[in-house]
Structure formats: C-alpha cells, structure tokens
C-alpha cells in the first residue's frame, strides 16, 4: 500500500459529560412526548384517572363524612397524590425500556454508542429521558386531581388534606419515577428486546409499587420527622441505584449482547 501525504490536525472536540447527558435526555424526552400513542395513553391516565377518582371515591367519601372524621378523610385523600402520580410514572418503564433495548432493535443505538459521549452521559441521559415525560404526565395528573377537588369541595374541602403527608407523597412521585426508570434502564441495557425489557422491569416495578402504596398508608403514623426520613431514605436508594448503574454500565455490554 502506498503512503499518502496527510495533514495532521490535533484539534478534536469532545462534549462535556453534562452537555452530552442533557442532549441525550432532551432528545429522548421530546421523542417520547411526540409519540402519539404514548401521549394518548399517558394523558388518559393523567386526566381520566383523577377525574374518575374525584367523581367516584371522593364524592362518596365526602358524602358520608361524619363529625370528627375530617382528618381521616384528608389522609385517605392524600394517598391519591401518590397513587395518581404513580400511574403515569409507570409509563417511564416503557420509555426507559425503549431507550436501550428498543433503540438496539431499531439500530439507532450503535451510532450513539459510537459517539464520544461518556458512559455516564449515555446512561444518565437515557434515565432522564424516561423520567422527564413521566414527571410531566404525573404533574398533569396531580394538577387535575387538585383542580377537581377544588371544584367539588371548594378551597375549604382542600383544607382537609394534611400538608406534611401530602407534600411527602407528592415528593415521593419523582423519587419513585427515577427508581423505576433506573431499574428499567438497567434491564433494558442488558437484554436484547424491548418486550423482554418491559416484562422484566414490570416484575420489579409491580411489587415495589405495592410496597410504596403500603408505605404511604402508614406514613401518617410516623410523624413529620419520620416522613422526612422515609423520603430521604428513598432519595438515597435512588442515588445509589443511579450512580452504581451509571458507573458499572459499559457500552460494550450492550453491543456484546447483539
């Protein structure tokens, strides 16, 4: 082979981890939000769910409320902040499953893995891409629930809701969404197909959701300090899962499974 003259240009640009992470997250989130089917189903959960709950359960509870039972009713209403917020966040599992396994099936993952973006940027970006739309739908659900409550009970009715419990449960929604996304991303990056990723993630998400709801019913008993501790513990679990997953994830594992 003949050697050819060649100019050397040492100037090579590489993005920072945070820049790449945000680019990946933003692209993934926008694509999920633009997906018509996901949009319809998620909005159905986010708007239809709260309306149905308020018009059936809340209407019934408030109709039979007796003197001195306001606090108990308020606590049971507050639980809906978590339940209604969690319903659309389970969509994060589907989105996260598509982020690795789905893209691998479509062939669009290889160019991303061939880019200079770091492992942390790719993995973190994928998790964030799944969390952002899920949280937006959860916000719609919470807002719909609150507006329906105000519409049905007026501002006085909303005063039933215990503040500390409501805020803790509201704060738990993104924490759980991140956990679900992280788990689904870990699974998705290590299996071959989107369906397998969804099925395995579902096996993890279902019992965790049940545990969280069980915990929510018992949160009020722990007092404000207990609630804060529970919240901090859940955030710590999230951080550990995300950091360990991002640091241990290797892009070649994804390709080696091809």
């Amino acid at each position: 082979m003949v050697l050819m003259p060649h100019d050397i240009s040492p100037k090579v640009a590489q993005p920072s981890t945070w820049q790449a992470l945000w680019l990946i997250a933003r692209r993934g989130a926008i694509e999920s939000l633009r997906d018509r089917m996901t949009l319809i189903i998620s909005l159905l959960f986010a708007i239809g769910g709260p309306v149905m709950v308020v018009q059936t359960v809340v209407r019934f509870q408030t109709a039979v409320i007796g003197p001195g039972e306001e606090a108990a009713v308020g606590r049971s209403l507050a639980i809906f902040f978590l339940i209604l917020g969690l319903a659309p966040t389970t969509g994060a599992v589907g989105i996260a499953s598509g982020q690795f396994a789905g893209e691998k099936e479509a062939g669009s993952l290889t160019p991303l893995l061939a880019s200079p973006a770091s492992n942390v940027a790719i993995f973190g970006g994928k998790i964030l891409a799944a969390v952002i739309p899920a949280l937006l739908y959860a916000a719609v659900a919470e807002l719909t629930f609150l507006l329906n409550l105000v519409w049905m009970l007026g501002w006085d009715g909303v005063a039933f809701l215990p503040r500390a419990l409501s805020l803790t449960l509201l704060a738990l929604v993104p924490v759980i969404a991140i956990f679900f996304s992280a788990v689904a991303s870990i699974v998705s990056s290590r299996v071959r197909t989107f369906n397998t990723a969804q099925q395995i993630s579902g096996l993890v998400v279902a019992p965790v959701s049940a545990l969280v709801i069980l915990l929510a019913f018992n949160l009020a008993r722990l007092g404000v300090r207990g609630m804060v501790l529970v919240l901090l513990a859940c955030i710590a679990v999230d951080l550990i899962v995300v950091i360990v997953a991002a640091r241990t994830w290797r892009r070649e594992e994804v390709l080696a499974g091809n």
């Binding site: 050697l3 003259p5 060649h6 040492p10 993005p15 290889t110 160019p111 893995l113 200079p116 390709l255």
Partner: protein
Amino acid sequence: MISGFTPWVDYRCWMVVARIKALQYSQDVCCRGQAGRDGRVIEATGLTRRFGDFLAVDGVSLRVPAGAILALLGPNGAGKTTTVRMLAGLLAPTAGAATVAGCAVVGDPAGVRARVGLVTDQPGLYEQMRLPAYLQFYGGLYGLDPATRTRRIAELITFFELAEHQRSKLAGFSKGMKQKVALARALLHEPAVLFLDEPTSGLDPLGARAVRDLIVSLKAANRTIVLCTHDLDEAERLADTVAIMHRGRIVAADTPAALRDAATTDTLVEITLAAPTPDAVSVLADLPDVARVADRSPLRLSYQTAQPEVTNPLAIARLVAAGAAIVAVTCTTRTLEDVYAAYLTEEAALPASHGART
C-alpha cells in the same frame, strides 16, 4: 445521477462524477485526519475478542496508512463487524492492541470515537426527527460549537443533495437517503477515519453507486476508510488493500491484483472448435507448460497455462496442423471472487487452530 450507459462507460462516468465531487468536497468540507508519525492511521496488533467461549476475532493485525481504503471481506460471522467495533472504540479487545488516529483503542476509546466516523448496514436514525435536528443532535454530541455545527450541517446537506428533504421526518426517507444521512452524521466532526460496515447493504443499484461515489470522493479527500463488504466487485473497485477474514482471522491481505496473482499463476484458456478433432486433446497435452487439459464437449477444449503468451500461439499452430478449425480462443484470469472462494475453501479444510496468514 448518470444512468442509461453501458456498464463500462457508466463506470467511467461515475468515476468522473466522483472525482469532481471529491474536488468539491475537499474544498468545501474536507477534514484533516490524525496520522501517526509513520503515516499509519490504523495499526492493530493481535487484536482478539471473545464473547464467552466464542472467539469472534482471533489475533488480527493490520496497518492502514492515511488516505487508503482497506476492505474487509468475509462471510457472515467472519469477525468483520467485531473488528470494526474494536477499532472504532466501541468494544474493548480481549487481547491485543490497536492505535487509531493516534489514540489507543484500549487506553483512550473516547479519543478514538471522537476521531472516527461509523456507518453500519442499518442507518440507525431517530426516525421521528427531521434532518437538521438530527444532525444538530449528533453535532452536539461530537462537541462542535453551534456556529461550526450549523456550517457543517449546511455543507453536508448540500453535498448529499438532501436540501429539499429538510422538513420531512427521517421515517419518510428512502433507504438510500437514510444511508446518506448516516454518512453525513459520520462526517459531521470531520473524522480522520471512517468505518463503513456494509454501507451499500440493502440499497438499490443507484443508491449503492451513490455511496460508492462518495467513498471514492472521501478517499480523494485523504480520508482513511475501512470498508466491510460482501460485495467483491465493490472491494475490487474501491480498495487499496483487501483483507479476507474467516473464523475471526485474516487469512489473506494484499492489493486485489496481488491477491489474484498470489492465488494462481495460471490462466484458463478455452478453445472453441468448428468441428470435432480427434487428436486435439493429445496435441494440447503434449505442449510444454500446459496443465489440466480437458475436453468439456467435442467442440470445447480447455487447459491452464502460466505463460499464455508463449503457449497459446503454439497451441493454435499445432491444432491447426492437426486439422482443427478454431472458432475462438478465450483467456480467463482469476477474479477476486475466485480468490476469495479459494481462500475460504482452503481455510474451511484446515483445523480451527491453524494460524492466520497476514
């Protein structure tokens, strides 16, 4: 696109178009790569990759200088894609080492990825995106500043003649257009090395030709290219060096012409007679430097010779003297396809532990 010509004229025309495009490309969007001190942009030694018990790539060593095209030929599962993935910094080798564009694939895979472009047989696009947004996304990932990104995207869209499709979603693009987008993505950051893994796979003949045009123009723009292909004609036309891979090893590597020469020194000569000639076979068999004389039919004889320029006139004279009326004499040298088949057949007959020839 030029069409409707005879194959040879057509081939020459697209070479001319490719050269013009190369000139235009080198002026407009040409990159400058990173070659080593000795001019080698890719240098791999004993590159090995295992997936569990499966040995996908077994001690591959190769050197590619700047501005050259290396074609990796081989059947499915030969290890071409795994080799490319290791060289592109996507897969860490189990053993061995490689330097690509001045960066070690083991020590600095991110550096390698920043300096190379990769196109696979699947374009792998985000199909819900539009072309400029898609290229903006990858421009950002390759760390291009917004002004450079915008300029490069405009240049590449013009170069690939995709300007009128900027408002369409990528899902609506034809396979050829998608492959152009994949190539544009791979060229955004002006990489020193391009890895093209079956870039014409699944394309119609015109689409495949457009991609080959581009490869020619990129070579003229001093880009180093590693091309994985099943298309032997493509390899022969484009590559400076062809490496034949089998069972994860390079079983032969040289220029297409040298491979043909090394595989055989014999030319197959076929003689068509006007009428059967009883002594024709024995006449040919008595000639010096002739092998494998055969009568394929009463009117068709064949033999192999290393010196057709000496043997053929003698054979014709002796046959005519023996009363034969010769209609035609054709000489066939081996094609790369024959060479490829010969190497693979030979390798298949050997035990798996047989060492690679490089």
